[in-house]
Symmetry: C2
Subunit: 339 residues, 2 copies
């Protein structure tokens, strides 16, 4: 545990330089194989792990990065985190989690974290409400950031889902069941994520030769409550939809609640398909048909991309297309009664 390099050196009968070089696999070390083995053995016997602070101080690098998110409490985020953690581990990095609500816009928490050398960079998932401007004020002109899920004009360094393909797939599913009046319960208007999903929805309608009606599109956001309101608005207007694409699974759960309250049966009177799959989708009533997106890969890619950036490579804007969006059929979708 608390073994030090000098202790290994002493027991192996060599200098600390050699120990350090052998342990780090320094290619310039041309120690005799015998010496090398002895050092390795002693280190193993003593259960040596390099002191983190010593190394960080010397290297001016923490080998840690922070994942900042507005919402840890989602299975979606858990996937992202798992991907990020594994990619980080593979590169010998540690992941630190920051809650975005602790980080008020305009605060310097992020700058401090890297300023004091706690982390080398960030993977940042912004809140839907965080404007491009507020985002910039947080990260300033700092290049040590990779945006995740969302991107913003004028800043390179992002890893996002293929939202167009995902939303298109969801919409096409309803189309293939025979639906013609398909509503969209989408995100807030200024969100780039929401815009991409709406684009996928529009694309599917267009390719099927279906008319896109503005009255069938609601842009109130991804919370259950927002989706409840959206359903009420949709049902107050005419023509009513026979199917609805909800651009987020949480919203879909709210939509089911609202439909139940209105006495509308799913799926016989209206079909509901949600963007994103998570375990509760199996346990709603009826169980939700969803489109599953590769969150794990987004997390992993983001970390890899950040580490590349830290090592000086130019920032990339990546769309994760593998594995592709996948339709998970459950019980909330069916052909329309009167097509």
């Amino acid at each position: 545990m608390a073994t030090k390099l000098t202790e290994i050196a002493r027991q192996a009968g060599v200098s600390v330089s050699v120990v350090s070089r052998v342990l780090n696999g320094d290619p310039t070390v041309r120690a005799r194989e015998e010496t090398r083995q002895r050092v390795l053995q002693v280190a193993k016997d003593l259960n040596y792990t390099a002191n983190y602070a010593g190394r960080a101080l010397r290297l001016a690098r923490s080998n840690a990065l922070a994942l900042i998110t507005p919402n840890v409490s989602s299975p979606l985020f858990a996937d992202l985190l798992a991907g990020a953690t594994e990619a980080a581990e593979a590169a010998n990095y540690t992941v630190l989690i920051g809650l975005a609500d602790t980080i008020a816009a305009g605060s310097d928490t992020l700058r401090r974290l890297v300023g004091e050398g706690r982390v080398d960079g960030f993977v940042l998932q912004r809140h839907d409400d965080l404007s491009d401007q507020a985002l910039e004020s947080l990260v300033a002109n700092d290049a040590r950031v990779v945006l995740v899920t969302s991107r913003t004009p004028g800043r390179r360094g992002s890893v996002i889902l293929d939202d167009v393909a995902g939303a298109k797939l969801a919409t096409q599913h309803l189309i293939s069941l025979g639906h013609k009046r398909i509503a969209l319960i989408g995100g807030v208007p200024h969100s780039d994520i929401a815009r991409r999903r709406e684009h996928g929805y529009a694309l599917a309608l267009h390719e099927a030769g279906l008319r896109r009606r503005e009255s069938l599109v609601c842009r109130l956001g991804y919370t259950p409550e927002a989706a409840e309101s959206a359903v009420e608005i949709l049902y107050a207007g005419t023509p009513r939809p026979t199917g609805v694409v909800v651009a987020n699974v949480n919203g879909a759960i709210g939509a089911l609640t609202a439909l139940r309250r209105l006495g509308v049966d799913v799926p016989s009177e209206i079909s509901v398909v949600a963007y994103h799959d998570e375990w509760v989708a199996e346990h709603t009533w009826p169980a939700l048909t969803t489109v599953k997106m590769p969150y794990y890969e987004v997390g992993a890619q983001a970390v890899r991309s950040l580490i590349d950036q830290l090592s000086g490579k130019p920032a990339q804007d990546i769309v994760v297309r593998e594995p592709p969006p996948q339709l998970v059929l459950r019980s909330s979708t069916a052909p329309p009664k009167e097509p």
Copy 2:
């Protein structure tokens, strides 16, 4: 950002010793007020933050701690994390998150984290399946651990919920509605958490003069699937329950699914109350009556307790009783049809 102590010293025209002492509020510093102010001003102007590695190396302390959990993807955990984060921040600590599944039993990940000085200690939430033995193998005889939610004989240092009171409250709610045949869908038998909750259930029955029937108690665990099985078993036997306490909200969601499949109406034919409140409980059908437990406080207490322990105070075993368990009435409970 990358300002150093020497730079401040230079600009303020004093030695680094003075700067360090002033900035750390060292009481032995008897610098002139004027000097003190000048130093503070320069530090502020330069936006100084102490280099983390330098300090950690010198102090042999990372001021970081790890929160290890089997499951980040739960609003429950989010509360715990929020509590832990705020308490940590107040004490100038950083919280690092570890996923327990990355940490195989018998692995030395934990020991390495403290071995290399990345963190000073742990808050550890064990998985239900992790035996006392496996737990010990992970943390060894390390005192820098506070167990959270669960405890284990022979190890001090834990912060748990008042499971007895919580489960008792849930059971009493059904009793007060007039139920007499009340089932328990509990955790796995070897879990201390499960035992406490079962105790609370038994206590409520006992105090109400109701008979406790072994055939009405299932101990399959907290997953939705386990609870589905439990419902099937309960409905295969006689007498059937008119009410059921599910010792975890995820289980309750599974129970609702199983009851729906069996064609049993909730709450007219059976009442369901869940231990733990979270947002989906509002959106199930019917909406779940739950008992809300103080998770935030558990997280905060655990961190405070760990920091105390690190500073040499004896390890404590704490039960969080404030705020007390709280019944959240929704639509899944009602008086029995035939009492």
